[in-house]
Symmetry: C2
């Protein structure tokens, strides 16, 4: 019927993700995207719309690959307390292992684009709230087992752990020091009651 495309959407999104991830939305030009994807600008516009729409698609794919996957994998664990700790440990390991200090695309975008783009802000906020909800579900199970300190509600604890996620991602972009990142997180472990 017509000429088929020479590329796969997911491949293009993954390549574009690299650019947006390290340089942000405004720091990445359409020509950068064309170079890294091997496509020309008109092909990108034909397939995804404009640059912002491509960015939104990349955000969605990022959340799927790096957030929902992790949440699903860790929530399948038997021990919700171990799941929370594993989440943060994994975050720190990723942060110190990232040579270019790219941090988290969602957190980066929360600062760069969310204040000037309410629509993308909602998108980003929803993905981050998924993480918060994971913490809340886990903490509810922990509280039910009597392993959460009584002064702390699961909702407050979840907001607190999400805050640590944001902070670790910010701090790691400036100084990816494992000791520092671990120290940030360590006091939060006292929220768990001794058995």
């Amino acid at each position: 019927m017509a000429r088929p495309r020479s590329f796969t959407d997911s491949d293009v999104l993954d390549r574009a993700m690299d650019c947006f991830w390290s340089d942000g939305l405004n720091g990445t030009s359409v020509r950068d995207l064309a170079e890294v994807t091997g496509l020309q600008a008109p092909s990108l516009y034909n397939a995804f719309g404009d640059k912002r729409a491509l960015f939104a698609a990349v955000l969605e794919r990022y959340a799927e690959r790096f957030m929902r996957e992790r949440v699903a994998r860790l929530e399948a664990m038997d021990d919700p307390k171990a799941a929370i700790i594993a989440f943060l440990d994994e975050l720190i390991e990723r942060s110190v292992a990232d040579p270019d200090g790219r941090g988290c695309l969602l957190v980066n975008s929360a600062l760069e684009v969310a204040p000037h783009d309410p629509e993308l802000a909602v998108l980003i906020g929803r993905h981050l709230d998924d993480v918060r909800a994971f913490f809340e579900r886990s903490l509810t199970r922990i509280a039910a087992a009597g392993l959460l300190r009584a002064e702390v509600t699961p909702a407050d604890g979840a907001a607190h752990f999400l805050a640590l996620v944001l902070a670790i991602r910010v701090a790691s972009r400036m100084r990816p020091d494992r000791d520092h990142l671990t120290a940030m997180m360590r006091p939060a472990l006292t929220l768990f009651a001794s058995p």
Copy 2:
């Protein structure tokens, strides 16, 4: 000897701060700066060097006006625990009162420019470490009074509270909700031992 300047450095820095604060380094053009300061580009270049140098000067002034001032004022309090709590409360109040959701210039810059500019990264990191040091001094005094939980060292607690500062500033840029920001902070109060 020569023609005098028609402006004061500090005035120009304050005006430029507004731009960099809400739009970032890359989001602010030299023409924006010229418009908001009432100067022409050559005057800015003559007085401060290039755009990046002006940005660095603005960072320094911001740290002086909004960080060191607050640290000095709160550290003069008698009660170090109240000082820490007041710091966070003040942060939240500023965040929810900020209509444009500009957050903190230092935190914004930590994500935007630090990864691509090691020199500015050191500058920003130093200012943020001043805040961490304030927390550590306060927590040391609190620990000496026996009001810090034994499992937490002042160094860890300081990193933890700095993390909350970063997180509150990030979260507030996306959703300046007082309840949410307060919930993030509340569990950290359990680090203080009951008297």
